[in-house]
């Protein structure tokens, strides 16, 4: 593990490294001298800190996450929204930045509507969502792509480099929810489909190092040509 770039798959209970100088990070535990994995995933070392990046599993919500969810139910004071967590996610009337008629909640959002939301707090009763920030709100049109929530950091890239690349190449507006739903909105359907293919390509090749370059090359191959192939299908 001397090489910082090197990542390896570890299984629960496996000793990742041993030595007093290492510190256990997320998903790991220290037992004597050994750093032990507590989850299945990729082990990564940064300044003697061992971190574990999960490869699979459900979305684990954090405060401040931007997510995309579907309205499941209307209650007298808000909406119950499915964001792919086992806990119940709730959007209160108070967290909508405009006047809402309490007798006509469906005018704002009805069952089945999809919205971009922010996780405002997490407590024992469940998750509280908010619409009070820029870029949040009900989704009108566009394309929703579902990916593995654990691959979301790859799609965004380092400081948003990957998502910026896709935006520039396709001219689409893309919102990535931390729960693995991606909203693509472009001028033309072809652009949206290209962006979708790019995202699925990243999800499939998330192991590759230097992925941003790989995706640039992929765009070189698929841009323009990809559209005609799509037409033939």
């Amino acid at each position: 593990m001397a090489d910082k770039e090197e990542r390896k798959i570890v299984i629960p209970g496996e000793t990742i490294v041993s030595g007093d100088e290492y510190l256990p990070g997320e998903g790991t535990e220290k037992n004597g001298q050994d750093i032990i994995a507590l989850k299945y995933g990729l082990a990564e070392e940064q300044n003697k800190l061992i971190k574990l990046i999960p490869l699979s599993g459900k979305f684990s919500p954090r405060r401040g996450n931007v997510v995309i969810g579907k309205v499941e139910e209307l209650t007298f004071n808000g909406w119950v929204i499915d964001i792919g967590t086992p806990e119940r996610a709730f959007l209160s009337l108070m967290e909508v930045p405009r006047f809402v008629n309490k007798d006509a909640l469906e005018e704002v959002m009805a069952v089945g509507d999809i919205a971009v939301l922010k996780i405002w707090s997490i407590n024992k009763r469940g998750i509280d969502l908010s619409l009070k920030a820029r870029g949040l709100g009900k989704i009108g049109e566009g394309l929703i792509v579902e990916v593995n929530p654990n691959k979301v950091p790859r799609i965004i890239g380092k400081e948003g480099s990957m998502i910026k690349l896709i935006k520039d190449e396709t001219g689409c507006n893309i919102t990535v929810g931390q729960n693995g739903l991606v909203w693509i909105k472009g001028e033309k359907v072809e652009d949206e489909l290209l962006a979708k293919k790019a995202i699925l390509f990243i999800e499939e090749n998330s192991f590759v190092s230097g992925l941003t370059e790989e995706v640039t090359q992929w765009f070189g191959k698929n841009n323009g040509k990809g559209n005609t192939a799509e037409d033939k299908e």
Partner: protein
């Protein structure tokens, strides 16, 4: 002792050819296949998700719920589909054998569902099921302290053998057959599950446990290899 011959000609400490594969059920959060010769088990993990029925919720920690099912076509005499006394027992035993390794403290009021399907049976099905379930749980991203590996030890007349198949389970010579299912937690080598069907002396049981401990190491290596190569079938 040296002249002892097993029906299929294996050595006394040899398992049947084993195969393992992770990620075979697309819809599941985690899934795995484990095979001991003619015994094939598939495990699929769903969750953590909200526990239904609500009265079964545990507000202190998450629940592990296993369902073992033998398919009606898995044996030559069709077995009646649906839950039976035997499958309910094995479900519960599987749950208990996996409980020491899963850490469900953060999932209060939720459940992790493990479905085990036996699609082909040639004895030792519960062991294959536990092995598959441990791999599937790991792949589902459930926090775990370790893996569990399981093996069956048989006593045919007076001879201890590893990994019993159907012909050996029905052994009738001498003292007959005793079937011992054992599951070990890998790192601390502790037993998480033991079942015994038949007669055995205390000394020989100790010997059987020791034999099982050695044999599960091979099982563990295979589970590890399968998890490190998701989507690929590995065999030993």
């Amino acid at each position: 002792m040296t002249e002892f011959k097993r029906p299929d000609g294996r050595k006394i400490d040899a398992t049947r050819p084993m195969k393992a594969k992770v990620g075979i059920v697309k819809n599941a959060d985690g899934s795995a296949l484990f095979q001991f010769g003619g015994t094939i088990a598939i495990a699929a993990v769903y969750g953590p998700k909200e526990m239904h029925p609500r009265n079964k919720r545990n507000p202190a920690k998450g629940t592990l719920r296993c369902t073992y099912n033998m398919n009606s076509f898995s044996v030559s005499d069709r077995i009646r589909p649906g839950p039976s006394r035997r499958s309910t027992e094995i479900s519960k035993v599987t749950e208990w054998s996996l409980e020491p390794i899963v850490m469900l403290g953060d999932y209060a009021g939720q459940v992790v569902d493990v479905h085990i399907q036996i699609i082909q049976a040639d004895a030792s099905t519960r062991c294959a099921g536990i092995n598959a379930a441990a791999m599937a749980l790991a792949q589902a991203g459930i926090p775990m302290t370790d893996l569990v590996s399981s093996i069956s030890i048989g006593k045919l007349d007076k001879q201890l053998v590893v990994d019993v198949d159907k012909a050996e389970e029905d052994w009738e010579d001498g003292e007959g057959a005793t079937d011992i299912a054992l599951s070990f937690v890998h790192n601390n080598e502790k037993l998480s599950h033991i079942q015994l069907d038949g007669y055995i002396t205390a000394e020989q049981l100790k010997e059987a446990v020791e034999l099982g401990k050695q044999a599960t190491k091979k099982v563990y290596e295979l589970q590890k290899e399968a998890l490190k190569n998701p989507g690929k079938e590995v065999s030993a």
